[in-house]
Symmetry: C3
Subunit: 308 residues, 3 copies
């Protein structure tokens, strides 16, 4: 590969490369969005998410001055900002559409709907905080190493993941395209916990450590469920040619008060883990488990070899 001409080194080569890149945008237009539709970018979604979390847990993540006297003004200012950001992001998502939510072409209809959805999420924050309070309680009482609610909110990735999930799930149920997945992926990047916004999760939910946890779109999880790092609640097969269960549920049902230890994998839409059961570490399950049952690996056969 020759070094370019001595006069203006590299300039013409660079110009040629730029032309070829522009040409490649035309050819594979579908791997970007130069076509006029403005998607919500990841940086916009990240700012929106951080604003929402700062309303859920004021004073924890950013250095804002919040006390009993000033908190009304803080919350008011933050909610107004979130409302505008949510409206813009939802408007763009509605213009994009999805297989189960056709794009809305009329811009004033879209703006009204975006406003309605955005306001609904803000109005739901007290209820979401109420449920998050149960999740924080579950973390404090479920981990002997937890020292306080403050520690749990600041330093437990599982609490952040469930907080963002409860927001994303609200938007998912309103069939807003793209945005819920964008929010859940931002928290996946931060925590290693991948909860699809479609998953239905009851109160008092606790994920400990969390790295590698995957919870699929049609999971149904009851109350007081505890999950450790590396647990997958997934689909049996992702082959589109295989018919999903008649219910349309591709991922398992976990009933109340179940504990699932590290690295366990539970698959399939017909799989139900009965209430109060315990799934041991590394267990691989594709069938249902009755209530009040402990499932563990049966004397996993290990070989001990001297290497002295």
């Amino acid at each position: 590969m020759p070094v370019d001409s001595p006069n203006i080194p590299g300039r013409s080569d660079l110009a040629e490369a730029v032309e070829r890149i522009v040409e490649s945008y035309r050819q594979h237009g579908n791997i970007n969005h130069l076509d006029g539709t403005n998607l919500p970018s990841r940086s916009e979604a990240t700012e929106l998410l951080d604003d929402l979390v700062s309303i859920l847990f004021p004073g924890y993540f950013v250095q804002e001055q919040v006390d009993a006297l000033t908190c009304r003004y803080f919350v008011g200012e933050r909610c107004a900002r979130v409302l505008r950001r949510l409206e813009r992001a939802i408007d763009r998502a509605l213009a994009l559409g999805a297989p189960d939510a056709p794009a809305i072409m009329d811009s004033s209809e879209r703006a009204a709907l975006a406003h309605e959805h955005a306001l609904a999420l803000i109005a739901a924050i007290p209820d979401i905080r109420h449920t998050l309070d149960t999740d924080v309680f579950a973390a404090v009482s479920g981990d002997p190493a937890a020292r306080s609610r403050s520690e749990v909110i600041l330093a437990y990735p599982g609490v952040e993941a469930i907080a963002v999930h409860r927001l994303a799930h609200f938007l998912y149920r309103r069939r807003i395209p793209l945005l819920p997945r964008l929010l859940s992926e931002i928290v996946h990047r931060r925590t290693g916990i991948d909860i699809h916004p479609g998953a239905n999760i009851g109160p008092f939910f606790f994920i400990d450590h969390g790295t590698g946890v995957v919870i699929g779109e049609t999971c149904r999880i009851g109350a007081h469920v505890k999950i450790y790092q590396g647990v997958t609640l997934g689909a049996l097969s992702v082959d589109r040619s295989v018919n999903p269960p008649a219910s349309g549920q591709r991922h398992p049902t976990i009933e109340d008060h179940v504990t699932i230890y590290a690295g366990a994998t539970i698959l399939g839409g017909d799989t139900v883990i009965g209430a109060r059961s315990i799934i041991g570490g590394n267990v691989w399950l594709t069938r249902s488990v009755p209530t009040d049952t402990m499932v563990i690996l049966d004397n996993p056969s290990l070989r001990f070899v001297s290497v002295a």
Copy 2:
């Protein structure tokens, strides 16, 4: 859900939502800290952590100009900044307290103690660097893909995780509430490696790849130990109603020169892995292993099915 009045669209609904959020702060006051106590926020702790790491490994992570001539001024300026940041963060942590470290109410006593702890950590940096030098050596000599010490420091998450752990463990041993966990969680988010600040880890420690590693609070790890991605060193049961071992140790002991391959899980405070032993991938262990022993899965029974 009706769109709001035509005059000032959404304004009254927003105002109402804000009032309900403020009300929810009063009700669930314990999931935020509006009560006058200012906790260290995560953004403050992140700045502090980045400053500390830039002193441990100058010139690696931020674009500062550091050479033999100017490094005294760089270090002096950075240490002065770290001292102030540490004092503030420790002061707030001491005001919060913890079950095993009662809150210190007197503000001048707290300030003096915060200064003492902060200065002690800065004074310990040369010793911490000395130990980190052994960890970097272990990484370079333990991974055939490692090309240089520079590559290991810049691109091995395990080196960053143990660097931050050695700082956090110093603060943990001085019983400073919250801050050590906050630091270790920041590096967990970045690397997927979750080391509790309480874990006691010897020199020449190397974690390769690292995503999903969990090391519990009361682990004791010797010198020259090597750990791969997805390894858990955990507690046998986290049920508070089960008595922990008499020693108070809930997590395993790993002796010198042990290697633990990817996905292995070792649980329990009475479990001791003897010196020079090798634990194979995916092994699940809840009992001790003698010295000089290799433990592997015994011909894991696989089924091969033709799908042609």
Copy 3:
């Protein structure tokens, strides 16, 4: 530990600590780079990476205004910036050298070579985009939960990981020290997916969820391969004293149209997974598998215990 003198509290202690830190830089000079060589810092590499990704997928990650009219100017400006940043980073890497690429001492020779490498990567972007288009297609068609190409680009960590890998692999093949690993580690931190820049990966590649995936330096992966979270494609032993296979390949070969489910581990340079085979979840393999074969755990023996 006494609080310091009342006059200028802590100042002399701080000065002493600073001197001891500077002294420790002299002693363990090799865990920093005060010796005149300026490495590419992680923050510089991060900016470079974000610029490159914004050219690959314009409009997705940062809030830039890009449309058919302005995109030539956007791309031109961005490419010029990337060229300068790449030149600087490559120049520093060439000055550092590596075991298989001796440091280039002559600064004008180094500058010319850095320019050549940088321009070559920019010129390769259309081809890389062409291959990424196949990866995006594989993600959309391989995951029933995927709604659109936009969602896949914005919210699938596997797509980001393979995009950065294809850039890093290009630089790796040109034997540029350090920089490829630096880029792949930045995306590892973001996604939990750890692909060594040396790995050879065919088109239509899809990693779902991804947290905990590790793909080693000498892996060879064909076309239409699908991999789930927690999969390791690794070396059998990392002991330098054990001779690697004669081929020099330490990591497995995965042929076309293979699917590998969550948590499977495949090790060794002589291990070949034949075309169209399926490796089940949690399978641990150190030997080859013929074509068109499904390998699953054979009735993993579980114990069910009533805990009612």
